[in-house]
Amino acid sequence: MSNALQIAATGMQAQQANLENIANNLSNVNTPGFKRSSVGFVDLMMRIAGVPAGFDADALDLSASMPSRIGAGVGITSMLRHFESGELRKTDSPFDLAIRGDGFLEVSRADGSSAFWRAGTFKVNSEGQLTTQSGLVIKPGIAIPDNAQAVNIGADGRVRVTVPGQSAPIEVGQLQMARFASAAELEAVGDNIYLPTSGSGEAVPGRPGEDGLGTLAQGHIEASNVKIVDEMVNLMQAQRAYQASLKVVQAFDEMSALTNNLRK
């Protein structure tokens, strides 16, 4: 009879996806380093396949009465991940590391491939290497001596350790960072770890503080970049938009009932 039901259904499905996204953002409001995502809506148009067989298109002059495309509702283009920095919170724990600005730290996964880490809590593993909480080694593998009393990571990525017997800390390595042409296209695999995709571009290495890369801040943790007020407003809008599409479904239902009751 009409497309109204399908169109309203796409409206409700889109708002449902929106709601799921908002719920995900809100549940991660306290997750360190979490990057919020938003849903992009686009209108959909369906192309009408053409004149049915047996009809003479010219005689009917269909172009005036039938547009070549009719509305088909709303669709979701993509889930955009927003990489703006969250607030840096001072924790004073020497094992907390945050990136002030853009960029990622490169880590090695178990199978040897590279992944990119937006910093967080690190540790020194049994072999004396700096790793993430889940044990992924931070590249380049910097060896921390067994007798080190303190590890200091400077804003420029230089790693210094304090050993007993030496008054000044000794430098043991330099951390490298990487950035991407389109960080929003990175694939998130959890734990603040991201994998490059074809859409994100290649990782461009560099030193912290140079070429637009951010600096490292030890003793700080990057908070989630979810803004509760924004998410609440989005939640209200999603709810009302869902309700509006629901009204269309109800109206369609009413009209169908009226049609069916044309003949008693």
Binding site: G40, F41, A251
Partner: protein, 243 residues
């Protein structure tokens, strides 16, 4: 006598088409840069005599859809590659099948650093494709892009004589047919581009709800006419057939 049923049927079909449009508008109440679909009665503003003659020849049986091209309100998003045009005008996008035009300024950089739409289609600048070195350019109100203080390009904004006659391709894109009139680039002084904003849908949900209500009641009224006619014919057949 059959006329009554035909009139009711025609009216009911138009109501169904109206419902489709209302559904489309309501589903897209949160779609950025969406232009609401309006029903343009074929003989709006014409003298009554023309309505009567058109009725006889069934010329006014179809509803034309036109799009309301008034700009929507602005929503700040904080994304540096989101752009909104506060006045008229369209961005030019290079697609596989030629140029398309859009007001949806939600752009990003692709793997090579070019400015592209969310779908990956390149945004045209005045000098061709725009390539960005970093992800945080500054764009002024005329569309000029500055990176580290240097101007590296300008986004192309175009204007159509009759934007209401553009063909909707979906996904926020429009294609320029001959009905849209001449396309001219907009002068720098007339472009009103805002960075980090997106244009909201121009659907007014209150208006759509009123239209929805009206459509359903109109449909109900026509249904009653059809039922009344059915009853009358039934009675006539019964009474006349009995004798």
């Amino acid at each position: 006598m059959q006329e009554v049923l035909e009139i009711a049927l025609g009216g009911m079909q138009k109501d169904v088409a109206r419902l489709d449009r209302v559904a489309m508008n309501i589903a897209n109440v949160m779609t950025p840069a969406y232009k609401r679909a309006m029903v343009a009665p074929a003989l709006a503003g014409r003298p009554f005599s023309e309505h009567l003659s058109a009725f006889e020849s069934r010329a006014a049986d179809t509803l034309q859809t036109v799009f309301d091209t008034r700009p929507g309100t602005l929503k700040p998003t904080g994304r540096l590659l989101d752009f909104a045009l506060t006045g008229g005008g369209y961005f030019e996008i290079a697609t596989d099948t030629g140029f398309a035009y859009t007001r949806l300024g939600s752009f990003r950089r692709d793997a090579e650093g070019r400015l592209v739409t969310a779908e990956g289609q390149t945004v045209m600048g005045k000098g061709g494709v725009i390539t960005l070195a970093g992800a945080s350019p500054k764009v002024d109100a005329a569309g000029k892009i500055f990176e580290k203080g240097q101007e590296i390009g300008q986004i192309k904004i175009v204007h159509f004589e009759r934007p209401g006659a553009l063909l909707a391709l979906g996904k926020g894109m429009w294609s320029a047919g001959p009905a849209a009139g001449v396309m001219t680039p907009v002068a720098d002084a007339d472009v009103q581009l805002r960075q980090a904003f997106l244009e909201n849908s121009n659907v007014n949900s209150m208006h759509e709800m009123v239209e929805l209500s009206r459509t359903v009641r109109h449909f109900e009224a026509l249904q009653k006419i059809a039922q009344g006619y059915d009853e009358m014919i039934g009675l006539a057949i019964q009474k006349l057939g009995d004798s």
